[in-house]
Every structure is written in C-alpha cells, then in structure tokens.
C-alpha cells in the first residue's frame, strides 16, 4: 500500500523511536511511505492558542503541498498533527469564506482532495491475516491501549464511532497476540501541552492513567501519540513527584509492539530511547525442534 507520510516535528526529536519503529515495520507490512517534501510544522497546540488563522494556515499549507505532489492519501502518525490536519480540512470544507481567506494567506492553491488518515486505521487496513501469518513472533502480553484525546475528539475528526470506548488499537493488539485489558482511562487527557508550563497538571492527569493501568495488571501502555508518550514516559519522575507513588509500567508505541511481534530488535525499534525501560519480549511462534535421536511422544 502506497501512502503519503506527514511525519510531524516530533518524529525528528522527542518521538524519534516512533519514527524508527514505523520505518522499520513498514516494509514488512507492505507499506510504502512517501514523505511529503518540504513539509512544515502543523502548529500543534500553540498556533491553536495564539491565532486562529495561523492554526488553520499551517495545516492547510501541508495539505496544499501534498496535493501539489499528487498525494491522494496521507498517514499522520502523530495524533496531534492528525487532529490539526483533519480539523483544518473539515473547517475549510465547511466554509468557502474561510477557505478563500486561508488560501490567500498561503499563496498556494488548495482543493481539499488529500485524505487524512491516522496511524490506527492504516495499520488496521494493512495488518491482514495473510500479513500476520508471516509474523515470526507474537506479542503475548497484557496491555492497555491509550488513545488520548486527539484521536477521538471532536466527533468531526474521529474515525471511529465509539469515541468513548474506541477499539481500533485494541483490535490491532489482539491481532498480534496481545491481551488488551478493559480499563477506565482510554480517552482521558494526559495533560497535553502543559508539559513545561504546568508540569504538576501533567503529573496529576498522567498519574491517574498510570495508576489505573498498573492496577488492572497491564504490563505496558500502548500509545499512538508522541505527546502522550512524552508525558507518560519522559515525565515519569515528575509524575512520581506529584503523586507520591512509584510507577514502573513502560509506554510503547503501537509500531514498537508490532515490531516486537515481527521479531525486530530493540535497537531497531528505538526501545533504548525510552525513559522508562521497556523490557518486553516477543514470543516465537515456532516451537524449538527436539535434538536429533530423541523420541518425542506425539
């Protein structure tokens, strides 16, 4: 499956392991990713706070660029970027006046023809039974899937009906042999962009997430958003400081979990870049052969 890729700023920085694991598993899943040349930052939360026009112009510029390169469909692994791109597409599609205003600022034409996909729906499409048969390992662990806010809200950008209890990530984990557990924090906010300015809020909100996951007996929290990963992983010490509790549960990107089931090494998947060690192993599907000469009861 050939698809455009909007990496987003974090792919080169704080979410480097997300990029590494995605590029590592893509060829094995038949995914050919074409990075949109000359992409700019989507504006994330900051443009959104500072100026409405800016918050629309930055994503529109990306979409316009993709159109110029004849990219019909693009996957956006970062949930925040996905939300900005999808929201912008909806807004410009709903109001001709806004569309004209924004495209005038861009000095680029914009038709709104590129489809914006999040990582979960693309993975659900490519992780077919045939592809799964080729997987050498499985990921036999109890996990909880954390969707966060931006993959499921507002309703106009959500690609799932069940926004209060989404299932796409859980479905993906089941397919690779994991046991996704029922838990309460699937779509609760982690603290978002307050990582630097109000770290205590991140501490409290992310702390709730870690606590629930740990209580339910999960061995890892699976995420698909660099900001959530950063809050839950990089900010672990701050969380422990705010809550006064210790948490050891690792945070894995969905692409890393799939990579483990594909038999890739931790380094290939960037697991060493985490702040909280992720010592989870895959399990080989192949049974070890008995030594020659030994009879085995059938």
């Amino acid at each position: 499956m050939k698809i455009g890729l909007y990496p987003g700023c974090s792919f080169e920085g704080s979410a480097r392991e997300y990029a590494e694991s995605l590029h590592a598993i893509a060829p094995r899943l038949g995914l050919e990713l074409e990075e949109i040349e000359g992409w700019n930052c989507c504006g994330a939360s900051s443009a959104h706070v500072m100026d409405r026009k800016l918050s629309l112009a930055l994503p529109a510029s990306i979409l316009a660029r993709a159109e110029q390169r004849k990219i019909n469909e693009m996957v956006v692994p970062c949930a925040a970027c996905f939300n900005r791109l999808a929201s912008t597409k909806v807004e410009l599609g709903q109001s001709e006046a806004i569309r004209q205003e924004i495209t005038a600022l861009l000095e680029m034409p914009y038709a709104g023809t590129t489809a914006v996909r999040n990582i979960l729906e693309v993975l659900v499409t490519v992780l077919t039974p045939e592809v799964l048969k080729s997987f050498p390992d499985t990921f036999p662990h109890k996990v909880v899937c954390y969707y966060g806010c931006l993959l499921v809200r507002p309703k106009s950008v959500a690609h799932e009906e069940r926004i209060e209890d989404p299932t796409q990530m859980d479905e993906l984990m089941k397919r690779i042999g994991a046991k996704p557990l029922e838990w309460a924090m699937k779509t609760e906010c982690c603290g978002a962009s307050f990582s630097i300015t109000r770290t205590d809020i991140v501490g409290r909100l992310s702390g709730r997430i870690l606590e629930d996951a740990t209580e339910r007996g999960a061995e890892a929290i699976i995420v698909a958003c660099p900001m959530c990963h950063s809050n839950l992983d990089m900010r672990r010490k701050d969380i422990e400081h705010t809550t006064g509790k210790k948490f050891t549960i690792p945070i894995l990107y969905i692409t890393q979990a799939i990579g483990i089931a594909l038999g890739l090494t931790p380094t290939q998947l960037g697991l060493q870049r985490h702040f909280v060690p992720a010592a989870l192993e895959g399990k080989s599907k192949v049974q070890p052969k008995p030594p020659v000469g030994v009879k085995v009861a059938v």
């Binding site: 069940r162 926004i163 209060e164 209890d165 309460a184 629930d212 209580e215």
Partner: protein, 665 residues
C-alpha cells in the same frame, strides 16, 4: 329573487366604538337584494335573536347576514336561531366586524368603509347560498382499543361499563403494560400490581369486552362509524380454553436461559412461559425463536408434562376481521436502555441500569424478589447514584423533550431504596425538578427532608467501573460547579421515554399523524388532546407523549367519552360543508376526467373511485367521489382539480368569486 336580512351588531363597545354601526346598516339597506337592515347592541342576546327571528318572518327572508364577531364564536348560535323559524341554517352567514375589523384598526371613516365592504361581500355570497342538510353516517357500536396497558384498560372498561362493545387488542401475551412492571407508584406509593390487577381481571371477565392478547392489528380500512379491522392473533402454541395455567410446562422446559422481557433482561425465563404471575390471561406462550422443537425438532417435554393436554405445537396465526365504529389507540411507550449512553459505558457495566430495571429489582415479583441487589454479584448496594435526565432534554442525543415522569420516579426510587436499605446512601444528580401534579412536590420534598436523599444539582459527565465499584464524575453547580467524584455500588439512569417499537408502522396503517419522535399527533394540543386528525380514531396515554398514570387514565376516560358520544345515536351527524364532484346527465355524467389528483391531494383519504356503469355492467367512466363521512371540507381538492369538477358546498367557487368581485367594485 333573494331577500337577505342584514343584522349589524355593536357588540357593546367592541365593534361600536370603532365602527359606525348605524351607518353600516343604513348603507347596506340599499344593496340590491337586501330586504331589511338593522343594527343592535348585542345581537347574540335573547332580544337580539328575537329581532332576527321576527325579521325573518316579517320580511320572508331567504338569507341572513349577521355582521358581528367571528363565526368561530357564534355561527352555531345564529344558525340555530334561523333554524328555529324554519330558515335553513346554512343560509345564515357571518361577516366578522370584530376580529377582522374593529379589533385591528382604530376608529375612522376607513374602518367603517371596510366594515361596509365586509358586509356587502357576505351579502353577495349569501345570495348564492344553497340550503344544505346535515349528513348522516351509520355507526357500528363496537370500539377497537389497541394496546392493553393502563390507558387501554381504562378506556375499554369505561366503554364496556356504559353498555357498548369493545375489542381490546394487545401485542404482548398479557395485558398490563409497563404499569404491571412497576413496584410502587408515585405519589402515594400504592403497590402498582395491587391496583392494576383487579382492573385486568375486570377486563377479562367483562361480557362486553373481547380480549385478543398476543395479537396485533394487521390493517384498518373504512371510515368513522364504519371501520373494518383485521387482527392477527399470533400462535401461542396453546389451546387457551383447555389450558388451566398450572405452569408445569414452564417448569419442565429445559431451555431456561432466555433473558426475561418482563424483567428487562435482569432475570431468565423458559422458552414456554407465562410472562408474570398475575398475567391476564394466565396462559403461557411459546417463544418459537428459542424453543428446541421449532429450532431442531426435538424436546416436547411440555407436551408430555401438560396435565390438560393443552399444548398445540402446530398452531398457526389466525386472522380475524371485525367491524368497529371507532378506534382508541393506547399503545404506550418505552424507555431507552443503557447502551444508549457512551459516557456511561455503552451498556457494558452490569450495575449501571435503567429506571425500569430498578423497578424490577424493587418489585416483590422481580428477579430478586424485591431485594435491591447488584446484578453483577448479588450484593446489596450501599451507595446508589441516580442520574436524572439521562437522554431527555438532550438534543445532542436526538431527544430534546422532557420525559415528564423521571423526576418523580427517581424520587420514588431513592425513597424506596432508603426504605429497604436503611444504611444506604442515595444521590440524585438533577438539572431541574419537575413535580407539577397533585401532591407531587410534597413527595419530592419527602425524599429530601425525611429520607435524606442527597440531591445534587448538576449532571454526570462520566461513569466507569473500577475495582468492582462505579466511579461517577459529577458536579455541584450550586457550589460554583465544584467537581464531585462518587464511588457508587450501583448507578440508575432515568432513561428517556420514547415511542414504542412499531409506532410508525401502526400510525401509517391507521392513517394517523405522528411526529418526528413517532409519538402520535393529537388534533389540537390544547383543545382536542384525545382526538386525532382522522375522524373516529382517538388517542389515550403515553403513545401521544410520555405521561404518568393519572394523566393516562384521564386521557383514556376522555377518549372513552368521545367514543360513547359517537355511539349515543344510531347515526352520526356531520356538517355538510364537504366537497362534491359534479354529476350530470348522460353522455357527460360528470366533467371529472378521472385524473385523481384530488385523491392524492386529500389529507383525509376522503376521495374514492366511483365507476359509472351502463345497464349491462360495462364501466363507462371512473370518476372521483367524495366520502361524506371522511371529508373535512378543507378545499384542497377544489384547488387541485384541473377541470373544475369538484366544488365545496357552502364555499363554492361561485360564492367566493362573488365576494371577490364585490370587493373590487
């Protein structure tokens, strides 16, 4: 030659202070065709009416124009006056000088001129009036009541006890409806079954009521006084006459794990079952979708065990045609279930239940025999959160209306819970308290003041499960929107009332209007709450909108009185202001070309096809014919008719044109 009398009323100061009534009557005296013209202070009073009667006799009047208030006010009055002295009442018309003149203008010459115009227009019309005679329609004195809940039961009993015949059709295997599922009723905390079951038995035993349960109305044709209903009596699989209701069949049935509809999924029943112990009729029914015999051809334990040999596995549906004169629709309502709420768990938490399910827990005949227990583990909950307005008043969920009964039953639930579990804690999250009935507000205050139910003003954002408890995230808006988190053992949602399943299909079968929520439409929200726009079909109860038991019973009795009014004579009298398709001598027979645009335009299905036949039976022409029993005289067909073949009696084309031409001259 016309001899029209003009009678101008001052209506005290109402018309007199703005319009120069004397001038109007003097001017109109010189209109050609007017034989006499007078004015008087109060035309509708006794002396006023006497004035009219005397004038009719003295002047041999052929028509009367009363220039006064609105016809809606006094047309019947003046028409009776005319009829009393032998003038056909439809030769009397009113010119509205009040609502359409004096009440909307200030006193001036122009106003008086307008009044003169209005009267002269009406004179021109009356000159072209023809005498009309009321239409008589025969009446079959049997009522069909659809739906056997409390409203249907009340209507059936009222009609039957007045000596008329009733056929009561109920879709479920027993009558009783939702009221039979309730434990106690507000505001008196009467035991619901105790007050309902005597009525149910009365219905079964009444000689005037024919009861068809496990039956549905397949079709309804005809018109007021003369309907034909086809009833489908679904196959119970039982010979009702032979069956004694002993229940051995249910005990013997090996397929026991079917969610009980009566217990709203909280308990189980067998494949052959009696819905509840007090069911009327107290006979079982076989659920063919689950019975081994129908699925796999096996079992038949019930047949073996039945001491009365009453099981009839090969029984088929029966179609019964009946003639009825009127219909009362009382099909009731339902409540949404917990899966309707994404933020409260999509229905996956066993201890998040609906108000109706909580009723079953409270009920002595329920799955827990009246003890409040958690469906998940059977423990007694020590803390219950009741959430009011769950789905109601919620445009985001598609239900913008208030379901009316939830504030009251939530208070009731909280009180009954506290009565049963003395050390329990009850919280009610509400937005407003709607307790407008007699004794209703006092009832809610009792819950707050005597039973210590914690009422918190605010809504609940989310409910989720954690370590066997339900975490409720609410808010107290009276404390400045302070967040509240409660760990409850059970959450009861006061779920929204909605139209019953199949309401739309039934409304279409009966040709009854319904709204976007599939509640049946009344003819006028204030003044005709139990009538529909379809003549002869009445409404009662929650099928019209969610309501409580007193209101349902009131409406049922009101509908019954309408039916009894209809049945009070052998024939029904209807106003002759109806449309008529012209007929003339052969070879024309009628200018109607048979396009039947009128038939598709008619909102009341009052136009039929009439075949004009020669003596040998050959059809010469098919023309439109108006059914005088159904036509409401709206005139839509007249506007549609391209060949001007249909006209409205009392408002004919000629009459209306004459009025317009008079105004223009």
């Amino acid at each position: 030659m016309s001899r029209v009398g003009v009678f101008v009323c001052h209506c005290g100061e109402n018309i007199g202070s703005t319009v120069d009534c004397e001038k109007v009557s003097k001017t109109c005296a010189s209109i050609p065709g007017v034989a006499c013209s007078v004015d008087y202070k109060y035309m509708c009073s006794d002396p006023g009416q006497n004035l009219i009667r005397a004038a009719i006799k003295e002047n041999n009047l052929t028509g009367v124009v009363v220039a006064a208030c609105s016809p809606r006010m006094h047309e019947p009055t003046f028409r009776k006056t005319c009829a009393a002295v032998g003038l056909n009442p439809y030769m009397c018309e009113m010119a509205n000088l009040r609502e359409q003149c004096s009440w909307v203008h200030t006193g001036s010459d122009a106003t008086t001129e307008k009044a003169i115009d209005l009267v002269s227009m009406m004179v021109e019309k009356v000159k072209r009036n023809k005498p009309l005679y009321s239409i008589k329609v025969p009446v079959t004195r049997t009522a069909l009541v659809i739906g056997g809940g409390i409203a249907g039961i009340q209507a059936a009993l009222d009609i039957a006890n007045a000596g008329q015949k009733v056929v009561l059709v109920e879709r479920e295997a027993s009558i009783g409806g939702h009221m039979s599922q309730l434990s106690e009723t507000f505001p008196t905390l009467d035991c619901s079954q105790c007050i309902l079951t005597p009525r149910m038995v009365e219905v079964a035993q009444s000689p005037n009521i024919t009861l068809y349960t496990y039956s549905e109305v397949e079709s309804l044709t005809g018109f007021i006084g003369n309907f034909t209903a086809r009833i489908r009596k679904k196959a119970r699989g039982i010979d009702e006459k032979a069956c004694t209701g002993c229940g051995d069949c249910s005990t013997a049935c090996p397929i026991k794990k079917n969610p009980s509809e009566f217990n709203v999924g909280l308990g189980m029943r067998s494949a052959i079952y009696i819905p509840f112990p007090q069911a009327v009729p107290n006979k079982p029914v076989i659920d063919r979708a689950r019975c081994s015999y129908y699925l796999r051809g096996k079992c038949q334990f019930c047949v073996t065990k039945c001491p009365a040999n009453a099981i009839r596995l090969e029984q088929e549906d029966e179609l019964i045609d009946i003639s009825v004169g009127s219909v009362v629709v009382s099909t009731g309502f339902n409540v949404v279930d917990t899966s309707f709420f994404p933020e409260y768990g999509y229905g996956k938490y066993k201890d998040v239940i609906s108000g109706l399910q909580f009723e079953r827990l409270l009920s002595a005949s329920g799955p827990t025999l009246g003890e409040v227990k958690r469906p998940s583990d059977g423990q007694v909950p020590k803390k219950i959160v009741f959430i009011a307005c769950a789905g109601s008043r919620d445009p985001a969920k598609g239900i913008e209306y208030c379901s009316k009964i939830c504030c009251m039953y939530t208070a009731k639930h909280a009180m009954l819970y506290k009565h049963k579990v003395h050390d329990g804690d009850a919280y009610v999250f509400y937005m407003d308290i709607r307790a407008g009935g007699k004794g209703y507000d006092e009832f809610v205050r009792r819950a707050i003041e005597e039973d210590d139910v914690n009422y918190v003003r605010g809504r609940v954002s989310r409910v989720y499960e954690r370590k066997g408890k339900l975490v409720v995230r609410g808010v107290d808006t009276l404390l400045g929107a302070q967040q509240m988190e409660i760990e409850a053992d059970m959450v009861v949602l006061a779920t929204a009332g909605v139209a019953n399943a199949g309401a739309e299909e039934l409304a279409q079968k009966l040709h009854v209007s319904y709204d976007s929520h599939h509640f049946f439409a009344e003819a006028h929200p204030k003044l005709r709450p139990v009538e529909t726009n379809t003549a002869g079909i009445f409404l009662a109860g929650a099928c019209q909108s969610p309501k409580d038991i007193p209101d349902s019973v009131s409406q049922a009795s009101a509908a019954a009185s309408k039916v009894l009014g209809m049945f009070s004579s052998d024939e029904l009298t209807r106003e002759p202001v109806i449309a008529v398709v012209n007929r003339s001598a052969p070879p024309v027979y009628s200018t109607c070309v048979g396009c039947f645009m009128c038939q598709s335009a008619c909102p009341f299905q009052a136009i039929e096809r009439d075949e004009i036949k020669a003596r040998d039976g050959r059809v010469i022409k098919t023309v439109a014919k108006v059914n005088p029993g159904l036509c409401q005289g709206c005139g839509t067909c007249v506007a549609f008719c391209r060949s001007k073949s249909i006209d409205l009696q009392g408002f004919s084309n000629e009459q209306v044109y004459a009025e317009v031409m008079e105004l223009m001259s």
